[in-house]
């Protein structure tokens, strides 16, 4: 996958504090169309917070998030959450805990956004939903409720829900960390296929082996700054920074 020259997403100078806790201290990176970027780093380093800023779920204190062809959002303190909402037209989020709606069927879960918010024609949306559910092996579960699914199935529905938004960029926040080890594979496989199909994505993950396999670029964050970034093979295989090195070591060889 070869990133083009003008980036799909440009993130620059993101700052964010929760009270006295300065979580992001100036985060910059870009994602080109078709690129898979893995965001890694210790717990509490601000990965989730950064990802949420890309989707307008979190309002940064400073910095900007810009998509090719617009919108570009420049954050400022006291900014209205509304102003960041336009970012949601370009990217879609897959949460760690899937956050499916328990009172809606699988089909309703994945089609409620396109039908009620994007106001796309219902027939068309449902047809597309069924196609995508089949694509992740869940055609038989369209009318089931989320609670009756396994964790891996739930997460795959979460991915379909994001795809149904027809985003330019997929955002994943540790999509497999809440899963039984055996169920991790089925979700990673779907993500890998999406990457191979050319989807652009930002993937927060602790599965370093997976990142090495599917990511083009790896960004290592620690203490609210980007410590190191570069091609996956280099950052994970031969980290330049000692903090990166120790982190990668700890995850790949825990004992």
């Amino acid at each position: 996958m070869s990133p083009s020259n003008s980036p799909l997403l440009a993130v620059s100078g993101l700052h964010k504090a929760f009270g006295a806790n300065q979580v992001l201290k100036g985060i910059d990176f870009t994602v080109h169309s078709g690129e898979v970027l893995a965001l890694i780093g210790p717990s509490g380093s601000g990965k989730t917070t950064a990802l949420r800023c890309l989707n307008g779920l979190e309002i940064a204190d400073a910095g900007s998030v810009g998509f090719a062809g617009g919108p570009e959002v420049s954050f400022s303190p006291g900014m209205k959450p509304k102003s960041a909402q336009i970012l949601r037209n370009r990217s879609a989020m897959v949460f760690q805990g899937h956050h499916l709606f328990p009172h809606l069927t699988v089909l309703q879960n994945v089609s409620i956004g396109p039908i009620e918010v994007q106001k796309r024609p219902k027939d068309q949306v449902l047809a597309e939903a069924k196609k995508l559910l089949a694509r992740v092996g869940l055609e038989a579960k369209a009318d089931a409720y989320p609670n009756s699914l396994s964790g891996g199935q739930q997460q795959r529905v979460g991915i379909v829900r994001a795809l149904m938004q027809q985003p330019d960029l997929l955002l994943f926040d540790e999509p497999t960390s809440a899963l039984d080890p055996e169920l991790v594979g089925e979700v990673l496989t779907v993500i890998k296929e999406l990457a191979q199909e050319g989807w652009s994505m930002v993937l927060v993950t602790h599965e370093l082996a997976f990142a090495r396999d599917v990511a083009d670029t790896v960004v290592f964050m620690d203490g609210g700054v980007v410590v190191e970034s570069g091609p996956a093979a280099q950052v994970l295989g031969a980290p330049a920074n000692p903090r990166t090195r120790s982190f990668v070591q700890r995850l790949l060889h825990p004992f």
């Binding site: 989707n55 949460f95 805990g97 709606f101 956004g113 009620e116 409720y145 609670n147 829900r161 938004q165």
Partner: protein, 221 residues
């Protein structure tokens, strides 16, 4: 036949009639209106606007902190002094609705807060507004959490309707008092009324269980 037993049987009809024509409708109507008020107050209470949420907080505090009897009296006997003469039934319904509004507001608020934050965010990330998220995603899930405490409130309300007798509404308890007045058997009559309340409550509890069962799927797991 034992005359007490005879009186018990004779009273059953009038009491049941009082329950059906007054106690139950009074409770049902007040509960319905009270839930509307409660939802409004719960939403005001979780609003980020300080003034709005303070108004709701004070309202809830007063309703919960003062006796229902006084609330009934203020509406029925007190309002005329500001030129508002309200008939007994409307007075009772207003008072009970406002009362349920205060108690249920806290229940609904807690239920809304019990829905995981992630559900809000999942709605937002689909492009939904706060309002749409609330109505389409949060409230249906909050319902399941709110049903048990709300039906407790409803059960209390059924018994509290007896206070309406103090403002001229002839409901079941008032019927019991009337019969007492001519037979002097107040203990028997009150216990009989209590038994009918109990039956109503048992029926309501059974209903609650079935509603809860049906809402089971609404809970995130």
């Amino acid at each position: 036949m034992d005359p007490k037993w005879q009186l018990f049987l004779d009273s059953l009809g009038p009491l049941a009639l009082g329950a059906i024509t007054a106690t139950i409708p009074l409770a049902l109507i007040s509960m319905a209106l009270g839930l509307v008020i409660a939802l409004l107050m719960a939403l005001m209470r979780i609003s980020k606007n300080r003034v709005v949420s303070s108004i709701a907080r004070i309202y809830i505090s007063i309703i919960r902190g003062t006796p229902l009897l006084v609330q009934l009296f203020v509406i029925f006997y007190g309002m005329p002094s500001v030129g508002l003469v309200i008939d007994p039934w409307p007075s009772a319904i207003i008072a009970f609705s406002l009362n349920i509004g205060g108690y249920a507001a806290e229940i609904i608020r807690a239920a809304i807060l019990s829905v995981p934050q992630g559900q809000w965010e999942a709605g937002y990330t689909l492009g939904m507004s706060r309002t749409r998220t609330l109505y389409r995603l949060i409230l249906p899930q909050a319902t399941r959490v709110a049903v048990p405490p709300l039906s407790n409130s409803f059960i209390s309300l059924v018994k509290d309707t007896s206070l309406a007798s103090t403002i001229l509404v002839t409901e079941m308890f008032r019927k019991a008092q009337e019969i007492t007045a001519s037979t002097y058997e107040f203990l028997l009559l009150y216990c009989e009324a209590a038994a009918i309340y109990w039956v109503i409550c048992l029926v309501l509890s059974a209903l609650q269980n079935s509603v809860e069962g049906r809402l089971e799927k609404y809970v995130a797991k």
